[in-house]
Symmetry: C2
Subunit: 152 residues, 2 copies
């Protein structure tokens, strides 16, 4: 045997899903195993166990991805847990479904507001950049046009 069955176990054509070790996922998403265990402690993940060792499947991996995306968007782990749980909650009764619809609507408007924030900021970056460029070109017209880094 070569010395590593790593990267992805049982990706074969049979019924088994691909599985991952904690450090494989950590490497893939550039976080530490500690972080992944911490997320599990907060109820965001619940991988299978082989004895004491954690084994993650494709669904676990997707959940982790969602967690990290939520973090990039500035949500707390508690909020993320709430959101993710909506993804794979069983239907339940009518009241539950209506409640969920209301919460989805809240999320939507919040995300739209955030997107608006981003677009405003991007516009301001554009302004700053053009100011920068015009200053630069006016400076270059006046003095030492050959300076700067990379010219040597």
């Amino acid at each position: 045997m070569p010395r590593s069955a790593a990267v992805k176990n049982t990706p074969a054509g049979d019924g088994h899903q691909a599985t991952y070790s904690i450090s494989q996922l950590a490497r893939e998403f550039d976080i530490t195993p500690r972080t992944i265990r911490f997320y599990e402690d907060k109820g965001l993940l619940s991988p299978r166990r082989a004895g004491t060792t954690r084994i993650y499947n494709g669904r676990d991996r997707v959940r982790l991805k969602l967690v990290l995306r939520g973090k990039r968007l500035g949500f707390s782990l508690r909020e993320i847990a709430d959101i993710i749980d909506m993804y794979d909650s069983e239907p339940g009764e009518v009241g539950q479904l209506e409640y969920m619809l209301r919460r989805l609507e809240q999320r939507r408007s919040l995300l739209q507001a955030r997107r608006r924030d981003i677009e405003l900021t991007l516009q301001e970056l554009d302004q700053l950049e053009s100011q920068c460029r015009s200053r630069l070109s006016s400076m270059r017209r006046q003095r030492v046009p050959g300076g700067g880094a990379g010219s040597c």
Copy 2:
């Protein structure tokens, strides 16, 4: 005199800018005075003083607005300080300007990535919502169509 010159001092037509007390700003942006002082402590604000009392002008208010927008976008106060300082930094030399252009470009791509995250999430919300709705309608077709809240 009525008992409050509050809301906005000297908004008149002379040279003075509008000024604000700390609690006025706190109310306007729905944060506490403590938060505003904390931001000052971190170098994000530097209002004028009348004796010991802080007095904020229009520019201070705009800075605070930018801080809060940065927070909504998930930036740390240190990052926000770095960004905001670019807004009103004096031109400086060519190297500085080029450095600033590179940082602007980094910010831009980061914000674009975040916007992409948001759009993905919004799409998923759409999917969830339509799943919800179809389940709801199929449930209503089968049983007690007159239920729910607000019907009494």
